[in-house]
């Protein structure tokens, strides 16, 4: 496997959807190609850091206000009848 082929398969590999033959070829490539190993490892870390970051969590007080605003608007919509959104 060449480096460019590794890159094509990287997303499927990280998502765990590679067929077993390609996976073996890719892991064999990673065992000797340091650059691709680093790209693979740091891309995986990138995903994990974003996934675990709790970026843009909705604060509970705001959450309550938004939900009550949504439900009030839904009631108004119901009174006005369909087609009013």
């Amino acid at each position: 496997m060449k480096c460019s082929e590794f890159l094509t398969e990287l997303t499927n590999y990280l998502d765990g959807v590679l067929d077993s033959n390609t996976k073996v070829e890719l892991e064999n490539h990673l065992s000797w190609c340091h650059n691709c190993y680093v790209v693979c490892d740091t891309t995986k870390k990138t995903i994990e850091i974003y996934r675990d970051s709790q970026l843009y969590e909705l604060p509970e007080d705001l959450r309550g206000r938004l939900r009550s605003a949504i439900m009030t608007k839904c009631q108004q919509h119901k009174k006005r009848g369909p087609g009013s959104v």
């Binding site: 650059n35 995903i47 970051s53 843009y56 909705l58 939900r67 439900m71």
Partner: protein
């Protein structure tokens, strides 16, 4: 090095029960759906708009639109996927209004295959996120993802942050599966490269004195 595990499996078992009850006029069932997905919608909206007030508006508008159009929801996809599609459209509309000078579209032309080939291949420190405080790390992550085109960051957020499958992401964004995969690869590689500026391993004894 194994595959990434998705954080969200999504409690879908009684989703349909709630949706049907809401369709039948049970507002408490709809409120339960709001409670279930409001955090996700807010996160997606803020990732796309990069603006907290806009994200708040998107949450309200998306749920209100879902409520008003519930009868049209065909139940062929998950309610959540349908809701995400509505929310993404609302968020992109906000972005267009705020940045009319820039084209905001999920169909941005993808350049040649070479433009996202990694240029910098420096390794990172073993636990890069521990070098920074939580607040600093959030600032870094937020700034870094802001630099991606909206079409790329939307795919990344739905797939990698919210844990939608490739097929669900494609359905929510009305893109093909190959288009989702291609954008996802570019988004991941671009973020990796940009984060490298903060997380790169520093060589010891590099002559700085």
């Amino acid at each position: 090095m194994g595959a990434i595990q998705n954080k969200l499996e999504g409690p879908v078992s009684d989703e349909l029960t709630l949706v049907r009850a809401a369709k039948g006029g049970d507002d408490s069932a709809f409120e339960e759906l709001v409670r279930r997905y409001d955090r996700n919608v807010f996160r997606i909206a803020q990732h796309i708009t990069q603006n907290r007030e806009d994200a708040e508006d998107v949450v309200q508008e998306a749920f209100l639109k879902a409520y008003g159009n519930l009868a049209k929801f065909q139940e062929q996809s998950k309610f959540y996927t349908w809701l995400v599609r509505i929310a993404v459209n609302e968020a992109l509309m906000k972005l267009r209004r705020r940045k009319p000078e820039r084209t905001v579209s999920l169909d941005e032309d993808i350049k040649t295959e070479d433009d996202s080939l990694p240029r910098e291949i420096a390794d990172w420190t073993p636990n890069p996120e521990q070098q920074y405080s939580q607040a600093e790390l959030r600032e870094i992550l937020s700034k870094t993802i802001q630099g991606l085109p909206p079409g790329f960051r939307t795919v990344f957020v739905l797939r990698d942050v919210e844990g939608l499958s490739t097929e669900e992401t494609a359905a929510a964004l009305e893109l093909s599966v190959p288009a989702v995969k291609s954008r996802l690869l570019r988004a991941r590689l671009q973020l990796r490269e940009r984060l490298g500026r903060y997380f790169q391993k520093r060589e010891s004894g590099d002559g700085d004195q």
